[in-house]
């Protein structure tokens, strides 16, 4: 029952985040002592690798860009191979507060759950809110923040998400949640604060064209993975 959550890996996928990645790593390192920070470089063309290395992170460098989820999965596979029991994913753009990580860790250590999501559902435009409401209905997943990149996974969840079945996903959002949901893993949400992005913009909500494409893809994904309506195993807090 009581499996240690140690050792812990912090996985940070980064693509051309030279301005923020250093600060993010430093913040994590001051906030938590006994963690390994792993930056997965998604084929950046700037000095992201150098900055991350000099900030004291382990850097995994992808030979070509696999997208945000491809990078995270690289980190999960690495963490499994290295024997980590918990993996935290966070964005490299400074959106997530390092202070939120201990909150997530406390929850995953104290409660019987496999995934803890740092949720900040207040963020985002009305468009995002509409999209979320739509996908909640479509997928039957009763979580409030469907795209949060700040998550804690235990070893069971890591094994599931590192598998080839999860490789063709593109984002750490609906597709990943549905996989976890379908496998019967216990997902909890915990409210946290998020900063507005200090640089760059959402990869998903960048333009009307991108939004339409994303909506369509995710809708198809939801319909393809739809589950026979058993009682949901998710718990929302």
């Amino acid at each position: 029952m009581t499996i240690s959550i140690q050792p812990i890996a912090i996985l940070i996928p980064a693509k051309n985040e030279v301005n923020t990645v250093g600060k993010v790593i430093a913040a994590v390192k001051t906030c938590l002592i006994d963690v390994t920070v792993v930056v997965i470089d998604d084929a950046s063309q700037d000095d992201t690798i150098k900055i991350a290395q000099s900030a004291g992170a382990k850097v995994l460098s992808l030979p070509f860009s696999l997208g945000a989820w491809g990078a995270i999965q690289t980190g999960l596979r690495y963490a499994l191979k290295q024997g980590f029991n918990t993996a935290i994913t966070m964005d490299a753009d400074g959106q997530h507060e390092a202070n939120s990580i201990p909150i997530l860790l406390k929850r995953i250590a104290s409660q019987p759950c496999d995934v803890v999501i740092g949720a900040y559902p207040q963020r985002g435009s009305w468009l995002r809110q509409v999209a979320w409401a739509f996908f909640r209905r479509l997928s039957g997943i009763p979580l409030t923040d469907l795209t949060s990149g700040l998550r804690a996974y235990n070893r069971t969840a890591m094994i599931l998400l590192a598998a080839p079945t999860a490789t063709l996903l593109d984002y750490q959002d609906m597709g990943v949640l549905m996989l976890l949901h379908k496998a019967g893993l216990r997902i909890q949400e915990i409210p946290i604060l998020m900063y507005p992005r200090t640089s760059g913009h959402s990869r998903i909500f960048s333009s009307w064209w991108a939004v339409s494409r994303y909506m369509l893809h995710t809708a198809i994904l939801c319909l393809a993975k739809i589950k026979s309506s058993k009682k949901p195993k998710c718990h929302t807090k």
Partner: protein, 116 residues
């Protein structure tokens, strides 16, 4: 008379190109069987175009060319779907390979990395 010569030439030419491509190893043997079948059908139908009339009559199709088009399009659809399936499989393998490469280079290149 004349249309049979035209269709024979077209059929034999197409079959010849396919067979040549298979022999030159431009086609993976996995695909070769499918294309050998296509070459055979094209050749037979080219030399005996009346076959399609006969077949259509047997199947109750009023206008024989529709049968030809429907069969042809059906086969093309099946082929295209199988290509997309194969493509998705390759995409998955390539992504996993890239991930593995990133993980292994880290193990391997630790000592000679000046920034580490």
């Amino acid at each position: 008379m004349s249309y049979q010569i035209t269709s024979s030439i077209l059929g034999l030419l197409l079959a010849g190109i396919i067979l040549w491509l298979i022999r030159r190893d431009h086609l993976h043997s996995h695909h070769a069987l499918w294309w050998l079948l296509v070459a055979l059908i094209v050749m037979v139908l080219g030399i005996f175009p009346r076959l399609i009339d006969f077949l259509a009559y047997q199947l109750g199709v009023n206008y024989p060319p529709t049968l030809l088009f429907i069969l042809g399009m059906g086969m093309i659809l099946i082929k295209v779907i199988s290509i997309d399936l194969h493509q998705s499989d390759l995409e998955r393998k390539i992504r996993r390979l890239a991930q593995k490469l990133a993980i292994l280079t880290d193990d391997y290149g630790q000592d000679n990395n000046p920034d580490d």
